[in-house]
Every structure is written in structure tokens, then in C-alpha cells.
Symmetry: C2
Subunit: 578 residues, 2 copies
């Protein structure tokens, strides 16, 4: 709010000047009393200025008794998971009624550090969607891999005063927090000093460990999975985020833990939602509808998706249809099954019937490229010499994120190099550092992926997003990596020395400025090619999402980074050879 705006909206609210817009006959959802009432709603300078009253307006829209719901706030998301630039993310999610997000640019910052943060901030400034940020707290996620950047408290200090940065993102380093690790306390201190929010990330920890973690004033959790956890965590002062992502889906399991009182401390989030999920199921509204179906009162569900997020994150000018707040809202026929018909941001209609009307301008990332900086691209990168006929094997489990520790008898050639055997489901997987041309790379063996022939490579590989490539032969693997380097990031399919299909991710190798529709079309085509032309993969996994989690050394049991095969349960690198 500023003086000029205040003067405009007071004058219009008092009826001395015209409002810009009036929504007539709206069934206004009051998230404070959890009720609705029929009223006109006046808007001036992008803000609500009042209900029924003696005013006039430049334009009017008849809501015809439809429910008028405050725009939803996604309390925790990674825009990168949508494969979309912030601009295209805005275009993609506004039609389903999410008008604000709290985004943690953890992925892109792992690639490009502060440059990425500034690109995201600039994109947010220009986006129609209200994009707020939490500064990523854990870049790199571990020291068992090479990310593109290291963000310490020093880097946090340079941007944390930006009002669009609400605090520190998900503090995943639980062991570091409860060990009172100095570098972590330094980061937390940037928020303590400013009263900013610190997001938590604490799956499966309860009791004393949770107490110690929370003693640092970490205040949210989006990893809550059971009703009992929800009651304990809210009871200890946390806001609990009901998550409905593409892979992690917690809403229905958590609803039984929401009671008459603790609902005020529950929010909704998507965390990671793939473009297909956004386009086909919607965004935050999908989780909200699930919660309502599971028994949560619709008004309270809406409050969780709006005013509760506003309260938690200090977004005081959003989250309710109330005088002075930004006029972010949507109209829906029903509130027990929300389907936004038209969506408004700051009093302007931005989407209708599932289609975006007001697109966000693209922002060219000057310092963030889909760079693949690998100096020597040659077959030697894929060399996997073994000292034994028995080798450790990463075994993919159904779901495709967690793996098991396996071992197998393998074949070696005269130089001791691993040799692929057609009748065995064991492939080579290689991770190549791509950010700073360090030359780090490592290969290992993996089973359960099910690819018959060829190679699949990607620049999405959580959390450091080095190149990850899987295949049955080094030639295809090399071509795949070469393609990623030439085109500047993405996902590629190669077979018999030919690129079959390619998904461009020109922004940090993670995101694209293409529309959600064309991204989904492209991903569908990739799936089709894998299935029809490459003979498919294990039906229990998604070929691309599974691949991108194989380099994440915080999820058990074996993972591979650019530094080697990592035993997550033992927390150390191990040889492939046994």
C-alpha cells in the first residue's frame, strides 16, 4: 500500500469516485467466519474496497450467485518441477485458481546459485502470478556431489532483505540442525535477525529430535504423513502443509488428523507437481478438492488454502476477500468441488474456463543457461573398469525413488571393462558434473529400469542436476550427452546412434519457456518413443522421474553422484566392484 493507492481506494470506497469494477451477486466466501453471504464486491486499484454500499463502478460483472473464493496460495512449491519458467508456470497454474505461491528455487539455485535467485526474482516481478520465495537453505544438498553453486549465510545476506523473499527454504539438514552446526546456525540467524520465516523439512522425526529441531524456531513442515504426526507437529507450534504433489501425496492420509481447532495451522502445498499433473488435474485445487472429499469442511479447506497461508507467511495483503487486500479471487459454481470458472488477479480477469487470458512476459535469463560445461566429451567418460566378476548394483524399487542394495555376477572384457548382457536387466548409469567443468564423473550399475536398448540422458538430476545418463552401450550414451551439451539442457532419447526424441530445457537444464501444453505434448512423445520405439521400461516406474532421482544421495540405499557410487545407509562411497 502507498499513499496514492490508499487515497484512490478510500475515495472509491466512500463513493466519492468510481470503483474500477464491481462483482455483483457474488456468494462471497468469508474465510474468517467460514460462511458465505450474497453481496456485491467493489474493486479499485487492484484491491477489494468493500461490499454492498452506495458506490458506482466503471465496469461490472454479474457473478449470478456463484461462489467468490479468495485466490489460492500454494505454501510450498518448486517451480522447476513443472519444467516451466516462472512465466509459463504462471500461465499454467492460474486457470486452476492458484494466484500466489511460495516457491523455493532450490533446484535452479543448485545449478546457478545467486544468478538463478536473481533470475527468479526478476521473473516474479514480471509475472501475473504472485510469486514469493524462500531462499534455498541447502545448496548443495550434500557434499557428496558437485553442484553448480554453494550458498552460505553470506549469500543469503545479500538478498534476504528483498521483500519477495519471505525467509529460508526447507531446512532439510536435520542432522546438521540438531548438531547445532555452525554454518546452519549462520543461515538461520539471517532470519532470526529479521523475524523472517524458516521452513522445515522433517519427515518421520518425532519426540525429542523434533523438539530440538523446533527449538530453532523452524515453523513449517510439508513432510507430514500421518494424522498423529499432524497433531504432534501442530501441537509443537508448526504449521503443517497438506501436500499433494505428483509423487508425494499426503492430503487424504492427513485429513483425519485435522480437528476442530488445529485446522487453523494447516496449509496446502504442491511441493513438486509435474506438468502433466498440472495440465490434467489442476494445481492446488486438486489437493483442496481431495481434502473436501475426505471430509474436511469446504470453508475450512478454503481457509487452509488462503488465509492460513497468509497468516503463516505474513502475506497480509492476500488470502481473503476483505477491504484493502489484493483482489485475487475466482468464481466457482460449487465449493464442495471447486472448479474455477474465471480467475482474477488484482481485480483483472486472467483466466477463464481453464484457459489463461493474461500471459506473463518471458524473462530472458542472462546468466542462467542450460549450460552443459563438460570439457572432454569422449567414450572414456563411460569407462567402468571392474576388479572382480561380482559387482554392487543399484536396484530400483517400485515407485522409483528409493533403491535397494543389490549385487550381481557380471561380465568383463579383456581390459576389465563391464560388458552389457542382453539377457540381464543391468544397465550402466553415469553422472557427469556439468556446471563448472571439473571433470568429475562416475559410472555404476543399475537394475530394475528395464530399458532394452539405447540411452536416456537428462540434465534434471536431483539435487545437483549434473548430467545423468543410463544405457546399454557407451556410443548411445555419449551421443545423448553430446546432444544435451549442444542443445543446452533437457532430456534426450538415443538409440543406435540416433536421437529419437528430445525435450528442451534451456533454462538451467531444468525449465523451458515453452507452454505447459507443448511441454506435456513433448513429454508424452518421449514416453511414447520409450514405449514404442525403445521397447519400454519397467512398468512400475516413470523412466524420466526415476532417472532424475538416482543421483540424490539422501534417499536410500544406493545412489550415484559425479563422485561415485554412494551407500546412503552407510553414508559413504563404495566401489562398484565387490
Amino acid at each position: 500500500m502507498d499513499k496514492a493507492t490508499a487515497r484512490h481506494i478510500i475515495d472509491a470506497s466512500m463513493g466519492r469516485t468510481k470503483a474500477d469494477l464491481v462483482i455483483r451477486n457474488a456468494m462471497v466466501v468469508d474465510v474468517f467466519n467460514c460462511r458465505s453471504f450474497l453481496s456485491d464486491v467493489y474493486i479499485k486499484d487492484g484491491r477489494f474496497i468493500g461490499f454492498d454500499g452506495d458506490r458506482t463502478a466503471e465496469r461490472e460483472i454479474d457473478a449470478e450467485g456463484k461462489y467468490m473464493v479468495p485466490g489460492f496460495i500454494d505454501s510450498h512449491c518448486h517451480i522447476e518441477s513443472s519444467h516451466l519458467s516462472p512465466s509459463e508456470f504462471s500461465n499454467a497454474i492460474l486457470p486452476s485458481g492458484t494466484t500466489s505461491v511460495v516457491a523455493d528455487p532450490h533446484e535452479i539455485c543448485n545449478v546457478s546459485g545467486l544468478d538463478a535467485m536473481h533470475y527468479m526474482l526478476e521473473s516474479a516481478e514480471n509475472a501475473v502470478l504472485n510469486i514469493n520465495f524462500m531462499f534455498p537453505s541447502c545448496v548443495p544438498a550434500t557434499f557428496f556431489e558437485h553442484s553448480g553453486a554453494v550458498l552460505t549465510a553470506k549469500e543469503v545476506e545479500t538478498v534476504i532483505d528483498n521483500p519477495k523473499i519471505l525467509g529460508l527454504g526447507e531446512m532439510m539438514n536435520y542432522p546438521g540442525v540438531v548438531a547445532a552446526d555452525d554454518s546452519i546456525l549462520d543461515k538461520l540467524d539471517t532470519c532470526w535477525k529479521r523475524g523472517k520465516i524458516i521452513d522445515g523439512h522433517i519427515p518421520s522425526i518425532s519426540g525429542q529430535g523434533l523438539d530440538a529441531y523446533l527449538s530453532t524456531l523452524i515453523s513449517t513442515d510439508h513432510e507430514c504423513e500421518t494424522p498423529e504426526e499432524l497433531v504432534e507437529k501442530t501441537g509443537k507450534g508448526m504449521y503443517v502443509l497438506l501436500r499433494q504433489g505428483t509423487v508425494c501425496k499426503n492430503v487424504e492420509a492427513l485429513v483425519p488428523g485435522i480437528n476442530e481447532n488445529n485446522w487453523r495451522r494447516c496449509l496446502f502445498c504442491t511441493d513438486d507437481r509435474q506438468p502433466q499433473s498440472i495440465l490434467r488435474e489442476g494445481h492446488l485445487s486438486y489437493g483442496v478438492n481431495l481434502a473436501i472429499k475426505a471430509g474436511l469442511d469446504p470453508y475450512r479447506a478454503i481457509a487452509c488454502a488462503t488465509i492460513n497461508a497468509s497468516d503463516c507467511y505474513g502475506l497480509k495483503e492476500r488470502g481473503a476477500i476483505a477491504p484493502g487486500r489484493f483482489a485475487d479471487f475466482f468464481l466457482t459454481e460449487r465449493i464442495d468441488e471447486i472448479k474455477p470458472i474465471s480467475v482474477f488477479v488484482s481485480g483483472e480477469k486472467v483466466a477463464e474456463n481453464g484457459k489463461i487470458l493474461k500471459r506473463s512476459p518471458h524473462v530472458v535469463p542472462e546468466k542462467v543457461e542450460g549450460a552443459v560445461r563438460v570439457k572432454d566429451l569422449s567414450l572414456s567418460l563411460f569407462s567402468l573398469p571392474l576388479t572382480s566378476d561380482r559387482a554392487r548394483v543399484i536396484r530400483i524399487l517400485p515407485g522409483g525413488v528409493v533403491t535397494a542394495k543389490d549385487e550381481a555376477v557380471v561380465k568383463r572384457d579383456e581390459r576389465g571393462e563391464w560388458v552389457h548382457e542382453k539377457d540381464k536387466d543391468i544397465l550402466k548409469i553415469t553422472v557427469i558434473e556439468r556446471h563448472n567443468n571439473t571433470g568429475y564423473h562416475a559410472s555404476a550399475l543399475i537394475s530394475g529400469y528395464g530399458l532394452k536398448h539405447g540411452a536416456i540422458a537428462s540434465t534434471i538430476a536431483h539435487d545437483s542436476h549434473n548430467i545423468i545418463v543410463i544405457g546399454d552401450n557407451d556410443d548411445d550414451m555419449l551421443l545423448a550427452v553430446k546432444s544435451l551439451k549442444e542443445k543446452g539442457g533437457g532430456i534426450t532419447l538415443v538409440m543406435d546412434n540416433k536421437e529419437l526424441s528430445y525435450h528442451r530445457l534451456e533454462i538451467a537444464g531444468l525449465m523451458t519457456d515453452e507452454s505447459v501444453e507443448s511441454v506435456v505434448e513433448c513429454l508424452d512423445e518421449l514416453h511414447r518413443v520409450v514405449e514404442e520405439e525403445m521397447g519400454g521400461v519397467n512398468r512400475e516406474i516413470d523412466p524420466f522421474m526415476t532417472l532424475c532421482f538416482m543421483a540424490l544421495p539422501v534417499i536410500p540405499a544406493y545412489k550415484i553422484t559425479d563422485c561415485g557410487l554412494f551407500d546412503v545407509t552407510e553414508f559413504k562411497f563404495v566401489d562398484v566392484s565387490l
Copy 2:
């Protein structure tokens, strides 16, 4: 929170070092889930660090199953109404379980401006009670009188960044806000820029006027009187404060408006509580107990008095028994009728069985005196020449705050001066500017006070706190004013040229560093003297509280300021003579 503290409390929470204190067998009140559970509670460095767990502690206290309740937060009060300095206020209210207050030093700032604000801040720094402030928004309250200071946006800017100042205090100037008055927008802008809170004050206004007022992001109201108002105001985004002062008592009337959902937006406050009320009935707990008796669920009532205030005012480190928060709490046998047995602030026992254990040090106000700066103290100050035998008369109504416009036939002497008539209940009332030696003074006539003989004078006279004196003869009135000047502020009783009793208010003429017990004793003595030695006053009013509201030109109908007799309904000065 700082790094050193964080390290201490994490270490103790993890059991690596000893906690300072453990409260064993406490029935912990969880304000988030509105339930209680039996647990030990560990405290280190003044903060809660966890519940049952594998830890040790230096000291332990057995709660023997008593309820452990977070310390209450008074969301809006004027410390000055207690007649006590912040230090003595702390000593007075802690025993009843209020451990934090949000204080608006509106009265003392009207006397001494920024000097007063700094004195209050310094006192707060040294107090055991957690004292937070809202910067007074309306000094002076009106331009129809001379206050000791004028506080504009320029003055606000000099202190608003102090973390103890949470925002701008009750914005009483409703007409100014909805007129978009420039100087008011300037003040509001100091908070908009910083995301600080703006307290409202909007009795009896609903609908369009309320909408316009709220468009400025004013977010609280403590003038709510009916359940309907409560629903409208919460529905429009306000936090509604349930007030239980000495004179203004709204709790019982508001409880029926609190429903299953809007209770989260309700807080408790005392606004103005006299020392007698504090000593005899308690502080915030009095209102909380009334609400419970009136049907509000005890857990929710406690939440309104704790976490809701924490949420509203951003006091994130208070308001709940949760890890990381300050260990402010009390033990009580019952929660359906709260009687704090022992009270703790930052983990230290500060009161027990109604008695303060840890007193706050006195802070000597260097620049804030009970100054009575009146250059010429002479009988001429009380001259009331009339040009007619008919005069306007302020008529006190039962309750003693609102007055009526009256007129009477009066007697004049040879010079035209008003002459008191023993058989008529008409007295002279005089207001003398006391802050800046301007020489402003005015006299008028008043009925309904009922004093038989003598004079009563006070340096408490809302909101400008000039000297106000009432009496039947100029000699006694002069002596009363002389006494106030000599002693530096207070309330005095004079009869037949003799001072009968005196209540010292050496701090700005409003407060004293005496204890609440001695202040109450002194006020009781004043009442006794008025009753027994001066023949009493009208039984429907309190002699001192009524007197101190006679100079407040925002409450109808006739009031007197140092500028003359003011017709509040016509909003102009009028002659005493008709």
C-alpha cells in the same frame, strides 16, 4: 534468538547438556489443538526446549498435574490507566498471569511526546513483564485543546523501527481516515512500508464506512460491542479484541458472536484498567474467566489470550508452550476458572499466590516530569465573567463520561463574575494548560457532580492531560492547582484553604513509582475523604474518573478544554453565557 542461545538450547534439547529447569507432571495446555496432555517440560536459556525426553535439568519443579498455561498477552492496554509506572505495572499484573502486553502510551505521549516514548521503551527494556508498544497515532487527539506534544509521521519515523514498537496505535480519527487526510496517510505509510500493524478504534461504524476505514489495512478493533459487530468485523479481516476494562466491559456481550471458526481472530484486552480493578479482580484473567463463564470453551479462551495475540501482533516467540518460544507460563488448578498459582517469565518464577516475587527496577524518567508549567498562578485564572443571567451548563450523566447540554439561570456579582449558589448543584470547572506555559485556560459551569464544598484537581484529564479543577470557590481551586504545581502532578482534595488528601503522580502527572497496593490505598483514602470530609459527590459517578473525562472533546455533548467550552455535537466552541 541468536546463535549462542540456539546452540545452548539445541544441546540441552538433545540431552547433550543439562536443561536449566524441568516442570514435571504438567498438564500442558496445547493452544494449537486446544487440548492438554501430561508431560514434563524442559526449559533452557529462558525458552521451552521440549517435552518428555531423555534429558536432565539443573532444577525441577513438580507441577503435580496442574495445568500449565502459556502466559497471557494483553493485546491492547494503556499502562497509564493503572496510575503505575511500567515497572510497578509489571509488578502489579504478573501475579494474575499476564506476561506480555501490547501497550499504547497514548496518554503519556500527549504530555511528553517522544521523550515519553523513550522513557516507556527504556522502562520496558528493564521490566520483567514483556512490554511491547504501538506508537500512538493520535497525539493530540483533537486540535481543540493544547497537548504537551504533537506527534506527526516525522516523529513516528524516528522510532518505528524499534523492534519493541509493533506498529501504530489505535487510529481514533475515523473521519480523518475516510477523508484520506494527508497527515494520517503519512502516519499509516510508516507502517505500510514496514509491514507493521495498525490498530483500529472504530466504535459503532459498520457497512460502507467500515469498509473504507479497513481499506487502509487497519487490522484490529477493541471497540466492538455486539455479536453482530464481531461477525462483521472479523469477516472483514479484523482481529476483534474482547475488552474488559474498569469502565468499558464488553466480554460477556461479545461471547455469543464467537463461533466455531472466528474465535481464531479474537483476542483479549484490558484497554483501561484502574489500579483497584487490577488489585481486586486481576488483570486479563478476569476477562478470560468471564468469557469462559459466558460459554467460551476454556481452551479457546486461552488461545484467544495467547496464540491469537501472538499471531496478530507477530509475537512469534510468545503465546504457546512450544520449543523455541520464551518460557512464559503459569500453573493453575483449573482451566475453567483460571487462578494462577505461580507465574513464570522466561523460565523464572516471578509471582506466586498473587504476590510478585521478581520486581522490576524503577527507571527514572529523565525528561518526563509531572511538570505543571503554569506561569501565573493567581485567582484570575478562575475568572468566569458572564454577559447574561442565563448560562450553558455541562450536565454530567450517570456513568460520568457522556454529558448533556444544559442551561441554567445563574447569579453574577457586580463585575459580572459567576457566583456559586449553595442550594444549586452547579460548580465551576476550569482547565489550565500545563505543558508549555502557553497561558491557555478556560472555565465553565457543570452540574451533576454533587460536590458540596471545596475543590478537586487533577493532572489526569484525557487526552491532553492539562490541569482540570472543579470547585465551589476560587480560593480552594487555586490552592489545589498550586499544590499540583508544587508536588509535580497528581490528584488533590482541598477544602477551606487546606489540602485534605493528595495522590502523587510524579511521572508526567499520570503515573507513579509507588506500588499498586499503596496507590489503591491512596485512592481509597481520597474516596473516603471526598465521602466523609467533603460531603460526597453524586453517587452515580466516580469523582476522579468522571473529572478526568470532562476535558475530552470527542465524547458528547459539552466538554471543556483549555480553549473553552466545546460543543461536541456541533464541533465548535460556545460561550458560557447565553
